[in-house]
Symmetry: C2
Subunit: 308 residues, 2 copies
């Protein structure tokens, strides 16, 4: 799947991923009202609004982008109907040729991690039959439990040719509380990065590993160091746009070949119509606003890469 | 909810929690076959088998125990039907007066953590209505992202009088890879423990905080230190039984009042009928085997606490 991600990135020329993290307040009133008319102000209604919103964003951007990253929390908050919308969204994006990165940040040990891996990137056996429960292409994974927590995911990545991005240095302001603490003179995130590189060696695609890393756009200097520590890891970079990261901050996350990183934007794309810059589209054309925001993001990052 | 957990523990005299982590291969053939007869060898069939299995375990043990801890991964692996069985199990346990600890190990930042908190221990707003999507009483949370990842859960804990157990030192063999690394001469898990104590001060119940910690039974010496660092935190202790922890290893996790810790056993209880010790019950009486295993576990821990 890492090979297909790289192919998709080369094909579109867009090292970006659209974060499908729909809060209800991002969704234009008319979309919500249509959904509530059919399903009432219920969890089903909310899930339908989310799905209709996602579908329009995907329809309007899928030719420009290689991948999407639905954040499962935004679906899980609407219970079972929400999770059904997560699956429907993932399936639809795959039909459209997009790589789906399930931002699930799971992490546990042994048979428990194995169960998450089966559920999200693998298959589960029921009697004589096997099923693909959620079927994302990549997932995000939390490393706090060490190798015991990673190995079951790694096994499924290899079996199914799927991938994962392991949290290394997250984009949030307090990420340093634990991640930056010095161990033998070096920050924890570097040690995690070294483990990511080691885990990744066991699962190589053509030029990059099935095992990638999450490193926030908000910490460009750390990104530079981590890029060197994990040369074969694709870096998923959150924190662009709404969280403050800019194109020029991102150049060090990429390798010389212009590959090796994929930058996420969620709010900045899916709720673009709420920004002054894209206000001309209006809430009724939120999909066109998202498309314009994608084009601007790609040109910002490409421009930064060309002038480095 | 921490007050009710403490009450339940005092009432039953059992500082234990039964881990409802049903792998299909724990579930006796007759239970699986009945479920598959009705729903086929499908995800729905697997979920029904899980639910029927859980119901029998709960019916046979609920008068002896204060709480259960369903591990959501074991349900999530069966997709949406599995998650429906998770909710059905949680609801049923609450009807029976048990405290439900959702072992979900979620952790993200800002609005994403807020969405998980709403989904699992809070409410979600849809138009003018509000819903309780999963409705556990406690959840487990991963601290790797720092305060930004914890505060949204803390807010909901306070609003809803719910609780959380934050991963501090996990029970698995490789937990030391990151958690034991020395920072200014002290292991990372101690720093996390200190933060747990600080977060917990903001959300105190009568004698213990809404904010607890996870510390593995397999590391009794570390448990002793962490007990002192977090005097007001309830400690959820996994790793008893099948993972190797014994009653005598557990005494230091408790305070002098005999409170402050709750010990989990999953496989050792729910699959007790597979052990030689409880083989006399046979797979058809797996619920009675679970009950006998609960009684033995309680007497092991009580015995250890009395002779310390």
């Amino acid at each position: 799947m890492i090979n297909r991600l790289v192919e998709n990135i080369k094909k579109t020329g867009a090292p970006i991923v659209v974060g499908l993290d729909p809060m209800l307040n991002y969704i234009p009133k008319q979309v919500q009202e249509n959904a509530f008319e059919e399903f009432g102000e219920t969890l089903e209604g909310a899930a339908e609004a989310v799905w209709q919103f996602n579908k329009e964003i995907v329809d309007k951007t899928c030719d420009l982008i290689p991948a999407v990253k639905p954040q499962i929390a935004m679906y899980e908050q609407f219970g079972l109907p929400g999770l059904a919308a997560f699956k429907k969204t993932a399936d639809y994006c795959q039909e459209k040729g997009l790589v789906v990165i399930g931002d699930i940040k799971r992490g546990d040990i042994g048979s428990t991690s194995a169960a998450y891996a089966a559920g999200h990137i693998g298959k589960v056996q029921v009697g004589s039959k096997s099923y693909i429960p959620f079927g994302e292409d990549f997932i995000t994974v939390n490393p706090y439990l060490g190798s015991d927590g990673i190995n079951p995911f790694l096994k499924v990545c290899k079996e199914e040719k799927k991938g994962m991005f392991i949290l290394v240095k997250t984009s949030n302001p307090s990420s340093g509380e634990f991640q930056d603490r010095l161990i033998d003179g070096r920050p924890l995130y570097e040690l995690v990065g070294e483990k990511v590189a080691a885990w990744g060696e066991e699962a190589m695609g053509e030029s990059y590993s099935y095992v990638g890393a999450v490193v926030g756009a908000t910490y460009p200097e750390m990104g530079k160091t981590l890029r060197k520590i994990m040369p074969k890891a694709y870096i998923l970079v959150p924190g662009y746009g709404a969280q403050g990261g800019k194109g020029k901050d991102l150049v060090h996350f990429f390798n010389e070949d212009g590959l090796g990183a994929i930058v996420n934007s969620s709010r900045g794309i899916i709720a673009a119509y709420k920004q002054e810059k894209y206000a001309k589209f209006g809430p009724e054309h939120f999909g066109d606003a998202a498309r314009a925001a994608v084009e601007d993001m790609v040109s910002d990052i490409k421009g930064a890469l060309e002038t480095r």
